[in-house]
Symmetry: C2
Amino acid sequence: MLNTVLLQTRPRIISAASVVGPKEKAGPLGTFFDDAHDDDMFGQVSFEKAERAMYSRAVSLCAEKAGFRADELDLLVGGDLLNQLITAGYAARGFDIPFLGIYGACSTIAESLALLALLTDAGYVSRSVCAASSHFSSAERQYRLPLEMGGQRPQSAQRTVTGAGAFLVASEGAGPFISAVTIGRVMDFGIKDSTDMGSAMAPAAADTILRFFRDTGDDPADYDSIITGDLGMIGREIAAELMTVKGLDVEKKLYDCGCGIFSPDQDTHAGGSGCGCSSVVMAAHILPKLRSGELKKVLFIATGALMSPTSGLQGESIPAVAHAVRIESERGQGR
Amino acid sequence: MLNTVLLQTRPRIISAASVVGPKEKAGPLGTFFDDAHDDDMFGQVSFEKAERAMYSRAVSLCAEKAGFRADELDLLVGGDLLNQLITAGYAARGFDIPFLGIYGACSTIAESLALLALLTDAGYVSRSVCAASSHFSSAERQYRLPLEMGGQRPQSAQRTVTGAGAFLVASEGAGPFISAVTIGRVMDFGIKDSTDMGSAMAPAAADTILRFFRDTGDDPADYDSIITGDLGMIGREIAAELMTVKGLDVEKKLYDCGCGIFSPDQDTHAGGSGCGCSSVVMAAHILPKLRSGELKKVLFIATGALMSPTSGLQGESIPAVAHAVRIESERGQGR
């Protein structure tokens, strides 16, 4: 089994970009996003086209912030939540560079960062971009019910973030670096409630974090933060407990992007979710702190629930996966 | 832009496995498949579960043929055509190894082989498996119409192959080796007819093949075969012509897995398609010839159409991508 890979060459995240919608703009991180829109249609005629516009904008902006055009990069890696990854695939036709489509549900950005870090570390690419997105309204109608129904959602449900985040990974340049990668195993604890995905994803998050600390021998005390993608309030608690019973007490270090992106008064129940959630929180909130040195070392673990509406209708439980990347500030490792 | 990567360490394909349904069993390659079933339900209660059973079987069998259990491998990479990759994701929970979900539509197996070849060449993994699948009946109802309707399909349509193919890529051992990888760009020539995907995919195939020969400076005359995934009869012809006008005449070397898997009297119109098509043809028909030395050097290019039913309903054309791997026999390079 592939254990945690320690990277030797310090692939850097030299820029990142975040594009979000109105609900995210109104949230506690609203002022940090690069491009926060009041209109969740982004000037397009469908939610799917709106999501694609966000994705393209995030990729272009990310390249621009590093002084490049997207077309000058080696590779685009990424995906989204829509069937057949139509966000990423259609966005990719606008960039004249090779494209690798990735699907890991809400773990997509961690899977993409991990792959790019490996390919950069190995010297195959020197400047590449990865991106992931989700859109509340395109996700609702694909995964759940028409918005027009105005259905009530239980308190365990999370709200899909309308957002796209992009990251430029390079072999040279300034920025936080990825120093380790853990590829996750698919875990299924039998949860069947698709309005409680935090519970379904928590075992995968716990498994990957436990594997990471076992593989590296690192002491969690040396980490400023252990950042999960979007477990939400319920999943975060379950993951912490699953790790505690295995002897890893990291509860105080846990920050969940799904818990951070909305405030309790925004009526988003258990928090945010979707590929876009951790992508924009990492791009807008966490990376700046790694760049400034306010954070020295973090472990980022994005989790994905791998079910579909069809698998749910066929009585299946929800498998999940979580991939982890260790990101360190160039301004001093560890503490 | 990432050009063709030449691999230094010769990642080997030490085993491959193919599992197919009755239509494929009845086709011209029927006797070559490892596991050819008369029942396309594979003993399951739904087409989706049947596809998953094929996928799991292909992975297990591939490992077994090389003398391993799947759990002893480093990594599983792969995907399928179903929304949220429920075939690969659910199959992966049965194997206790890390999983990377990939989506490239019918290019999935080439994308997976390319990634595994790179990760193996770089030394991150030493023995890993990739797999891709499709199922005629799960694809029909997801992408097109209920089978019960008995709709007529135009002659340009291809038939989704019911099959799963798996490949074990290793840093050591005996077998054909992957010596180069070209990651494709997303191309869109404006085709909107989802019953003519060969036409939509041909430009991507041509672009990747042209890039490969430009990057490597290789002479197509040194190749025994240039094997496309599933362009079908129409797409194959268009791809050949697109290359001819660019000065690359490879028409006589072209073999298309979609044209090879069914015979004209099987009423499959333009040929086979789906992630499973090139996966099982490569596993059962091409690799044995590379192992025996009957084929010395081939270029394998799988193409994927990246649209969804939703993008079609929204008036979008069909973007496509093609990834290439050069595979050489260990029994002498070139001719």
